[in-house]
Amino acid sequence: MREISFGQYYPVKSFVHNIDARIKILITLMYMVSVFFIVSYTTFFCMFFLLTIIIAISRVPFRIVFKSINGLLFLLIFTAIINIFFTSSGNVLLSIPLGKLAINITDQGINFAIKMALRFSLLVLGSSILTFTTTPTELTDALEVLLKPLTYIKIPVHDLAIIMSIALRFIPGLMEETDKIMMAQKARGANLDSGNFFKKIKAMLPVLIPLFVSAFRRADELADALDARCYNASSKRTKMKTFELKVTDVISFLVFTALIVLIFLDKYYIGGVVQAPDLGGFEVQGLDIFVHRLIMKITG
């Protein structure tokens, strides 16, 4: 049995678990798009605050949710650094001479890098909350419902959904199988985790071959079992569990819509860029202008 890994369903009962999976998918989609429209640190703060509240309500331990960022930390830092080096606008803080060219690190570069990193973590955290609180079955069912309109342009949505749910259903089984085969080969003295890359690949063959054989065998058996029960994906089917919208679903949807409205107001209505003289001409954006002014007033 494997240790719990990122994105896996976390089985507790909570308000967030209870929200209709369709609504959850919609909210997540809206959320992911809107994250790219955030301009001010104030809105970032609001988003993180909201995420914290949602995680608290979902009763998934923070430790486990934040583990999901851990795996992507490298990517996050990498993109941030790239951003620092390739932004040339703003005030130069540090200049690194490289022959004829010089790489300038500017305050705007750092500003973008930080915002990029924040955006990235918001994306990962938000989407992992979806997978932590929704079972794979719910997810595929909800996707099937949401993609229903595509049937009008002859896309076999139900078939795709059943393929997806079977694939998801097979993942834990195959993981277990991999574990077992690895153990069996280790017991025969196989050395699976040393040597260089190519040696490692070669060493994995005794695991991969039996794994493929068993995957094909399982697929074959499943196909036969579906056939034996006269399964036909194209005929009209009913669901054991149907989705019904609850009042709480609508409310959570509205709360999110309000937040997204705030993000867009921030970008397009308040908008604007103000150079703050007290920050050495640093460009302050959106709601941050107000916050900046407020701080100025308080501190005099």
């Binding site: 049995m1 494997r2 240790e3 719990i4 976390y10 089985p11 507790v12 486990i64 077992k180 085969i181 153990m183 069996a184 080969q185 280790k186 017991a187 025969r188 003295g189 196989a190 050395n191 063959l205 005794p206 071959i209 039996p210 054989v213 068993s214």
Partner: protein, 364 residues
């Protein structure tokens, strides 16, 4: 003392909602020459336990000592796992699913090669192992393992382990999913390996009638603890408790227990069908002052009743009276001797006869 396990505990996915305790404070000593049977429900921890013996799982709490190799929760000193695995061979459930090479010979050679032996030594061991499991080396060595029958594949997989010549051999459900004939062959093979390859053998099985045929000691796992650790003849004093745990007891023990409930005590130490028959014949001889051979083995109950009982007695006991003699004299005779013993050339036809006579014995 070849294997000593002290205060061993293990928990899967600790500190998550998937947390599951598999072992709790296990203490066990396994001696050289033990033929150990392990029984227990699914999830009782027996599989986790045997994986510790092979160093496939690192102990979380407690320690495992195998020969002179000590496994502890600490990272240091580093343990030479390869050395450990050359001493302890492990045959997993459905071992045929681990076959991968394109010929039987290459697959069996995988283990010894990993031990770093010379090519000559590997070739010698491969030939020896394939022959030991009762396959024709010349006929199978160049065939693809996937072409073989289920029972043959399993024997090739077992050959892959014994080619490493382990001192301790662990088998997890070695007969699962085989037909009765294939089961019989694997059981005989295990007995053979005990004397010719690995002096210490540990077998996990669900089928208690199977385990009692060879084990000399049985360990019962229940709810991540060791419930009983007894010599085979002593274990079934606890029949009632075993049944409470949802474990099966041998059919012979059931018969003895039922007889005891009706006032006939045949003694405590009957475990196998052969023991039971001996005890019954002994009783009969005493009561009727006859001298039927106790060691005759299990034979056709029809013959027995015809020879030793009067028709009234037969009726009283509710024995089926066959009117006509069986036509095939020859096949009938074969049924007299129970078991296939070490006869590997046995033909499937005998299987039927054997199960028939076994059925009759069950009815009694």
């Amino acid at each position: 003392m070849s294997i000593v396990i002290k205060h061993l505990s293990f928990t899967y996915s600790a500190h998550t909602p998937y947390e599951r305790k598999a072992l709790e404070n296990i203490n066990l000593e396994i001696n050289e020459g033990d033929f150990l049977g392990i029984i227990g429900h699914t999830g009782s921890g027996k599989s986790t336990f045997i994986q510790h013996i092979n160093g496939l799982i690192k102990p979380q709490v407690g320690e495992v000592e195998i020969f002179d190799i000590k496994l502890t929760p600490e990272k240091k000193p580093k343990v030479n796992l390869r050395k450990l695995r050359s001493k302890v061979g492990m045959v997993f459930q459905y071992p045929e699913y681990q076959l991968f090479a394109d010929t039987v010979e290459k697959d069996v050679a995988f283990g010894p090669k990993n031990l770093g032996l010379s090519a000559d030594e590997v070739a010698k061991r491969v030939k020896q192992a394939i022959e030991m499991v009762g396959l024709d080396y010349e006929a199978v060595k160049d065939r693809a393992p996937f072409e073989l029958s289920g029972g043959q594949k399993r024997r090739v997989a077992i050959a892959g382990i014994i080619a490493m010549q382990p001192k301790v051999l662990i088998l997890d459900e070695p007969t699962a999913g085989l037909d009765p004939f294939g089961k019989e062959q694997i059981l005989n093979l295990i007995k053979y390996l005990k004397t010719h390859c690995s002096p210490t053998i540990i077998v996990i099985s669900h089928d208690i009638d199977e385990i009692t045929r060879f084990a000399n000691r049985i360990v019962v796992f229940n709810d991540s603890h060791i419930a009983y650790d007894e010599p085979m003849q002593q274990l079934f004093k606890h029949s009632r408790q075993l049944q409470k745990m949802g474990l099966d007891i041998p059919r012979a023990v059931k018969v003895v227990n039922n007889l005891r409930a009706r006032g006939v005590d045949l003694g405590e130490e009957i475990v196998t069908a052969e023991d039971l028959l001996k005890a019954i014949i002994k009783r009969y001889n005493e009561a009727h002052s006859t001298d039927i051979d106790e060691n005759a083995g299990i034979f056709d109950m029809y013959d027995f009743s015809q020879k030793w009982l009067t028709s009234e007695q037969r009726e009283e006991l509710g024995l089926i009276t066959r009117k006509e003699e069986p036509k095939d004299e020859k096949s009938h005779k074969v049924g007299k001797k129970f078991g296939l013993k070490n006869d590997k050339k046995i033909k499937p036809a005998k299987k039927e006869v054997e199960s028939k006579s076994k059925d009759k014995e069950d009815k009694e």
